[in-house]
Symmetry: C2
Subunit: 168 residues, 2 copies
DNA sequence: CAGCAACTATAGCCAGGTCAATATTCCCCG
DNA sequence: CGGGGAATATTGACCTGGCTATAGTTGCTG
């Protein structure tokens, strides 16, 4: 009966555990600044984008959200003054989400603590070669498993520079 | 501005990416068998428990769910015939969730494919020493970060043999 | 043994997200 | 042109899970 002790299982279990621990730790800090995890991710995505703006669809593609999910998140964040909507001049179907000054400020309030947590809970726990090995192995898996080659994935996944998520 | 290229950030980004890829891949397979991720996890937890049963509270502790969450999941699964409720003879406050024959059968239908995915997407992509390094590094982080020592965590986290999650 | 605090499961309400349907706009091809 | 199909954002219906209140049960303690 103990299929449950297979080597892969324990490795994946660890992966899930670490992911869960980091997620909840991050979320706790975000909450101190009145942000949810997705809101933080939206802010970072916008902050690092060319004009501090991104089309709704692209934002959806860069996060784990669906397009309607993005609509609702942006609704909330607009209500809170963190972002604004802007009509796209070249394509009237599209609209941009733009990060506001308040949004940038909020992000700058959160980031230092975020980085500190990463240092404390993650990088600081590993000697450089362990970290290197970890990154190498993960990259290996990621590349092999890249959504494109498989069924069950509806993401476009063409060239899409899906950068490593900053945190969440 | 580019705080975003810090070494820890890319590592965590990778971790999140791999986790997301595996999760969606698993979920897709579960769905083929009309199961959600949490339902699969409940089935495995029950299947590997002494009498094929677990108190609601313990089930909550072993999963990512709250107790009310467990109540609802068990509601659904009982409706679908995968589990049953059983009164606890020694403590009338408690009740057990028991996996049924149908539940065991469903689990056995899902498991082979689940293991195959793990092999294909994960262990099969890594040479033994990479896998070993990965596990080592993750364990290092996990142990350092174990919920107990930190604020923001309300889990009891006393002795609780929180085994590595089988998959989800 | 009486009362009180802790524990257990559940129900109500809410936040947040997906899916399907819709309206608008764009683009391509006849 | 111009009509049909793809793309885009939004909305409504629904689902899921968390938090909190509630009711029942237990066991300790004075």
């Amino acid at each position: 009966m103990n299929v449950f002790d297979a080597p892969g299982i324990t490795a994946i279990g660890l992966l899930y555990e670490v992911h869960a621990a980091l997620s909840t730790r991050f979320a706790a800090q975000f909450e101190e600044h009145k942000l949810s995890t997705v809101e933080f991710e939206v802010l970072t995505r916008l902050a690092r984008s060319p004009q501090h703006q991104l089309r709704m669809t692209d934002l959806a593609a860069q996060t784990t959200l669906s397009t309607s999910g993005v609509t609702r998140v942006i609704d909330r964040m607009e209500r809170d003054g963190l972002v604004t909507r802007r009509a796209c001049p070249s394509d009237r179907r599209s609209s941009f989400a733009v990060i506001t000054a308040a949004g940038l400020q909020r992000l700058n309030e959160v980031l230092p603590g975020h980085l500190r947590i990463i240092e404390e809970w993650f990088t600081g726990q590993l000697d450089p070669e362990s970290l290197q090995a970890l990154v190498g192995a993960l990259r290996q898996v990621r590349d092999a498993v890249h959504p494109c080659a498989t069924a069950g994935s509806d993401s476009k996944c063409d060239d899409e520079t899906k950068e490593p998520e900053p945190a969440a």
